[in-house]
């Protein structure tokens, strides 16, 4: 019952973002588990969408569908966003804690479920001529998500509008930097591993 109440609150956030995100932070109404449930639900929605969206708008090659890709395209960017945003805002006097960032980002993703699921059902009965309606709804979902993310970031860190926009853009840049560093790290590790392995081979062949 309490979980349901918390879940209903996420709807309140989606429709009344200013009020919602404020209470989220200062009334402790945001719950980490709800944010994570939303993240999971978004992933599932996207997987379903790839598989079951109507043929007219579905350009996925059925043999190339892979649910793990959604982790790569949703869960990984989500975590990257939170880490990048947290790293950045600590330097830019943001007030948000890491947990609050995760919660706000999670709650902001709700529109993706709210619109994508009905849209997926709709796409099965529309024709090519009506497909633009489907794409319109899709972009509406994206805009709504970005809008919520914007309000969320602004409220969590107590920023001004321009500073929020700057922060969001910089966060994207930082995400790129993190990916770059990650790849660099992995490639170096790989080289070290192969180096050690070569030495081991050399020694074992000599012995």
């Amino acid at each position: 019952m309490r979980f349901l109440k918390e879940a209903r609150y996420s709807l309140h956030v989606a429709f009344h973002p200013f009020d919602g995100f404020w209470d989220l932070k200062y009334e402790n109404k945001g719950k980490l588990r709800i944010a994570l449930v939303i993240l999971l639900a978004v992933t599932v929605t996207m997987i379903l969408n790839r598989q079951y969206a109507g043929y007219v708008v579905n350009f996925n090659h059925p043999l190339e569908l892979n649910s793990f890709d959604e982790l790569k395209y949703i869960v990984l960017p989500f975590l990257l966003w939170c880490v990048a945003n947290w790293s950045l805002t600590t330097l830019m006097d943001g007030e948000g804690k890491f947990e609050e960032i995760v919660i706000a980002t999670g709650y902001a993703m709700l529109p993706l479920i709210l619109i994508y699921l009905p849209n997926m059902l709709l796409s099965n009965v529309i024709t090519l001529r009506e497909a633009s309606f489907y794409y319109l709804l899709e972009s509406a979902a994206a805009l709504w998500f970005v809008w919520l993310l914007f309000i969320g970031t602004m409220t969590v860190h107590q920023y001004t509008v321009t500073k929020t926009i700057m922060t969001m853009l910089l966060t994207v840049v930082v995400m790129g930097v993190i990916i770059f560093l990650g790849l660099l790290f992995f490639s170096l590790i790989q080289q070290i591993v192969s180096f050690v392995y070569t030495i081991y081979q050399e020694l074992s062949l000599r012995a």
């Binding site: 007219v56 024709t127 090519l128």
Partner: protein
């Protein structure tokens, strides 16, 4: 006991299966097509080599670097034996009908010098692009000289213009089109009198942004050393029965190597799928060197990269692929020209000096026939043949589309949707869906409404009663508090 016998039987069967030779592949190449997703898909072989013909076979001495062939409407095959400067005419039984080597030009003995192109009109007049002699020669059907058309003269052509005609075609109105070496302006067009009228169908200049970037940052000296942006020259032409001119461009960069030019020189080729007629979809792209138009808008292109023949229908859908470079019979060393007549295809190999004749297999002729019916709009007749095609090749997307369209016409919308989906035709799938949706709603609207309206009423009633109870509770609370 039973088990033992069964095992023995199984062992015997396995032994025989192991001993019996593997099925021999009668073809030196594999059949394949590309799916909607651009993946290679195995396909039955549409054409198999049935015969190879060389000059020695015919007893007229070997052909020396033959450059072109032409299959005339009467079934005769004309071979342009460039190295020997002669034209050899063969009938459909592969007997030599005639050889033309020399002719009387204004009382003088004249001949060809390394000609590269050949065309025969309906009336049997032979046009030869006599490359090194820098002229186009017209002979009548007996091989007698009629006239020669030399370099175009016009103010738009610069005085140091070097004219080397390579290919020639003549349309029904007698206009002569010449593809010449190093001419980037397009096809040279002459009127029936042999007077120059202009260029047509110029290729667009290709450039890519990277080149453009380097060009802007480089100095003037560097710029002069860079390759200039010039349009690509055509390398071959053919004309179809309606007078449209098909051209090919041997450029591995372009995504429009095949053009279908209308009389005013505008490209009107139809590309229905998401992949146009570009040959192989690999990094090392195909380079088309000849094109042949057969009936019903079907055209075949000859690729010099891998020696393959790609056959497309009028919508630009790939029908089948055959041929390959190699040393076996049915493969080529240096294929240069392609022609077709009925269900037979001829490919001329320049280095080997021979013609390979291909005959359609059961699959090939089924596809040809089905596509023929399909292109003239006889979808229902075509559907029967497409079903046969599917029995031989369940991956054949065109067949699914063909059957789907036929079902759409017959009003079987649901089934049409299934087939059109298998054939990946979203446009027609969408049409079928529109019809199916309407039909479905007409049948089921009543049921849905009879369920929906009471449901809405119940929801409204429940909500109202809940609200009433809440109101009473509040009232109670207020009265108790007061």
């Amino acid at each position: 006991m039973k088990i033992k016998r069964a095992i023995l039987l199984l062992a015997a069967v396995l032994l025989f299966a192991g001993l019996s030779p593997k099925l021999a592949h009668a073809s030196p190449y594999e059949g394949y097509t590309y799916s909607y997703w651009g993946e290679t898909v195995h396909s039955p072989i549409a054409y198999l080599p049935s015969k190879t013909i060389t000059g020695q076979n015919l007893g007229i001495g070997p052909w020396r670097s033959p450059a072109d062939i032409f299959a005339a409407l009467d079934g005769h095959l004309y071979v342009l034996d460039s190295g020997n400067g002669r034209i050899v005419v063969l009938d459909s039984e592969w007997k030599v009908v005639r050889q033309m080597k020399e002719f009387q030009n204004n009382g003088k003995q004249d001949g060809f010098n390394n000609p590269e192109g050949l065309f025969v009109t309906e009336s049997g007049h032979i046009f030869v692009a006599d490359t090194e002699n820098r002229r186009v020669v017209e002979l009548d059907s007996s091989g007698a000289f009629v006239r020669e058309i030399s370099a175009p003269k016009s103010e738009v052509i610069s005085s140091n213009f070097e004219y080397f005609p390579r290919k020639v075609i003549v349309d029904k109105a007698g206009r002569i089109y010449v593809v010449a070496r190093g001419v980037f302006e397009g096809i040279i067009e002459f009127d029936s009198e042999g007077g120059f009228t202009g260029f047509m169908g110029t290729n667009r200049v290709q450039f890519d942004p990277v080149d453009l970037f380097w060009k802007t940052v480089s100095t003037k000296e560097q710029r002069e050393k860079l390759i200039r942006f010039v349009p690509i020259e055509f390398n071959n032409v053919d004309v179809d029965l309606d007078g449209f001119i098909f051209t090919t461009t041997a450029d591995k960069q372009t995504f429009a190597p095949v053009k279908r030019l209308n009389p005013s020189g505008i490209d009107v080729i139809r590309i229905n799928g998401n992949i146009g007629p570009v040959g192989d979809l690999s990094r090392n792209r195909s380079a088309f060197i000849d094109i042949d138009v057969s009936g019903n808008g079907v055209y075949r292109t000859l690729d010099s990269t891998r020696g393959r023949i790609f056959t497309y229908n009028e919508d630009g859908n790939l029908l089948y692929v055959f041929g390959q470079l190699g040393n076996q019979q049915g493969t080529f060393k240096n294929p240069v020209a392609i022609e077709s007549s009925g269900n037979r295809v001829f490919v001329l190999d320049r280095d080997q000096g021979r013609i390979t004749e291909f005959a359609a297999t059961k699959f090939g002729s089924l596809v040809n026939e089905a596509n023929g019916l399909y292109s003239i709009g006889k979808h229902d007749d075509a559907a029967k043949l497409w079903k046969e095609v599917l029995r031989l090749d369940a991956n054949y997307e065109m067949a699914y589309i063909g059957i789907g369209k036929s079902m759409l016409r017959q009003g079987e919308y649901k089934q049409a949707m299934t087939f059109l989906k298998l054939g990946n035709d979203r446009e027609y799938y969408s049409k079928a869906l529109t019809k199916y949706r309407r039909e479905y709603m007409r049948e089921h609207f009543g049921i849905y409404m009879t369920v929906l309206i009471p449901l809405i009423l119940v929801v409204i009633a429940v909500r109202r009663s809940m609200r009433l109870r809440k109101g009473e509770l509040k009232k109670d609370a207020v009265s108790q508090g007061g």
